[in-house]
């Protein structure tokens, strides 16, 4: 039943995404601009670590895509609450978990698709990385979007208006991006900033993807990255399901 319901909800929202092709491509625009106009600045800078500057930047941009994209997923649920779609589904026997899972799996699909486009563009710009590493990177994008979209939908169910939602998300997303070293590795940071960034869970993800991009699949970074990503996903989906089960929103 859960599988049936999840597939049904996933299909409904995937068709919704496919109807707005423009929005589907528009999501890649910001990271693409970074790739085109910021990436070339790094090519001759000493960034520490192994590999080229593209192997440092592209993992950061991939996670930025997930971070900014998936955190805003909850907007749609606010709109759907207004349309009555949420309550209409909640009076049917449909699994509450499926109402969340179908949506977040759609988001994971969309962001992995955008990640593929971004990596293709990066290859043209000069990125060279092992295929396995690139695939691992997509795995992290999927996990991160799954987690953040769950959190975002849970917030969307709780919040009454889009006006409350936007500022809330911005308050989370900007510090997350800066403190996780998405643009430049935190190994360049002074000690205090480096220490502070260790409290930002996304840092472990970006470090892991950077290792994957230079073919280092068994590092400590990779282990921590996988643990944090999986733990965060479990936590977020659990919290999200709890809200979808109970919400009188």
């Amino acid at each position: 039943m859960l599988l049936h319901d999840t597939a049904l909800i996933y299909g409904r929202y995937l068709r919704q995404s496919l109807r707005s092709r423009f929005a589907l491509l528009f999501g890649v625009l910001t990271p693409l601009l970074y790739l085109l106009f910021f990436g070339p600045l790094l090519t001759d800078l000493p960034l520490g670590g192994q590999g080229s500057s593209w192997q440092v930047l592209v993992p950061g941009l991939l996670l930025q895509l997930g971070l900014f994209g998936a955190l805003f997923a909850g907007f749609t649920v606010i709109i759907e609450k207004g349309q009555g779609v949420v309550e209409r589904m909640r009076v049917t026997p449909v699994s509450r978990l499926a109402l969340l899972l179908g949506r977040v799996l759609r988001d994971a699909t969309v962001f992995v698709f955008q990640a593929v486009l971004l990596v293709l563009a990066a290859l043209v710009m000069g990125l060279r990385a092992p295929l396995a590493g690139i695939l691992i990177g997509f795995g992290f994008v999927a996990l991160l979007s799954l987690s953040l979209a769950s959190v975002s939908y849970a917030l969307g169910m709780k919040v009454r208006t889009p006006q409350e939602f936007g500022p809330l998300i911005n308050t989370v997303s900007m510090p997350s991006m800066l403190l996780s070293g998405l643009m430049l590795p935190m190994s360049l940071a002074p000690a205090w900033l480096d220490v502070l960034s260790h409290f930002m869970p996304f840092r472990y993800l970006v470090d892991a993807v950077r290792d994957a991009y230079v073919g280092d699949y068994t590092s400590a970074h990779m282990l921590y990255g996988v643990l944090v990503a999986v733990g965060f996903a479990a936590l977020s989906v659990t919290a999200g399901t709890r809200v979808f089960r109970s919400a009188g929103a």
């Binding site: 049904l8 068709r15 919704q16 207004g82 779609v85 209409r88 009076v91 049917t92």
Partner: protein
């Protein structure tokens, strides 16, 4: 006739920043099978809150209720199987076609794909939507939208249909059509209809029995004529006067803001 809905002391208190708000203080009512019940009350009386509790959308904070023999607290899934609900706002995505919404609704009620497609066609024929199946729901007129909302709520042939202000915003022709539809549902399928309305002529024309709520409790109930006789003073009293007598309120001053929870 057997009771299809019965509630005892059903209550809901909301915790707000300004302190607890008792939206529904204790509703006792029974609805008999095949009855059209008009659920009336001033704004903020607790109509929608009661409806949302009876449809499992909101957990009661007190009291108990059964719908079609299923206990609201212990068997919400049974309640969902037995009832259909049309919210004031409806519940369709304007970007999706009528056909897709109807089929999805069937699938949400766990019909296999072919059965969901067949049921969608059947509902469309029954509710005069066949010519509109490939239209996006956002392009429907108010009356067509309402018929679609009701078709969706009827997907699983529920015993009880809950309608929250179903004719608000409809033109007179569409309202008359909707009344006909509600009567037909009861006559052909013995569906029990529980509807809230602010239109007293609607309650008078459509409902077998009225329950008037005020400040979260039942203030009066009975057939429209019994209520007119008792509270309005004569059978010729208007339901408007009867309603005002029951709720003890004259016409609301123009500047009061309704308290919505």
């Amino acid at each position: 006739m057997a009771a299809v809905i019965s509630t005892a002391g059903l209550a809901r208190t909301f915790q707000t920043k300004a302190g607890p708000v008792d939206a529904v203080r204790g509703i006792d009512l029974t609805v008999r099978e095949g009855e059209i019940l008009g659920f009336l009350g001033p704004n903020g009386a607790g109509k929608t809150t009661t409806l949302r509790m009876l449809t499992t959308l909101l957990k009661p904070t007190g009291g108990a209720a059964t719908v079609a023999g299923c206990d609201l607290a212990t068997d919400p899934a049974g309640v969902r199987r037995a009832s259909g609900y049309v919210a004031q706002s409806g519940g369709v995505d304007p970007q999706i076609t009528v056909r897709e919404e109807l089929v999805t609704q069937g699938r949400l009620y766990r019909l296999p794909k072919a059965a969901a497609v067949a049921r969608a066609a059947e509902l469309a024929a029954d509710l005069d939507l066949t010519g509109l199946l490939d239209r996006k729901t956002g392009a429907l007129s108010g009356g067509q939208r309402r018929r679609l909302d009701i078709a969706m709520a009827l997907t699983h042939r529920p015993k009880v249909l809950f309608l929250d202000e179903p004719t608000t915003g409809l033109d007179p022709g569409s309202r008359a059509d909707l009344w006909e539809l509600v009567r037909r549902l009861r006559d052909e399928h013995a569906t029990t209809v529980f509807l809230t309305t602010h239109y007293l002529d609607e309650a008078d024309a459509l409902a077998d029995r009225l329950v008037i709520v005020d400040r979260g409790t039942v203030a009066a109930e009975g057939t429209p004529s019994a209520l007119k006789l008792r509270y309005g003073g004569s059978l010729d009293a208007t339901l408007q006067d009867t309603f005002l007598a029951v709720t003890g309120r004259g016409p609301a001053p123009a500047d009061t803001t309704p308290v919505a929870v």
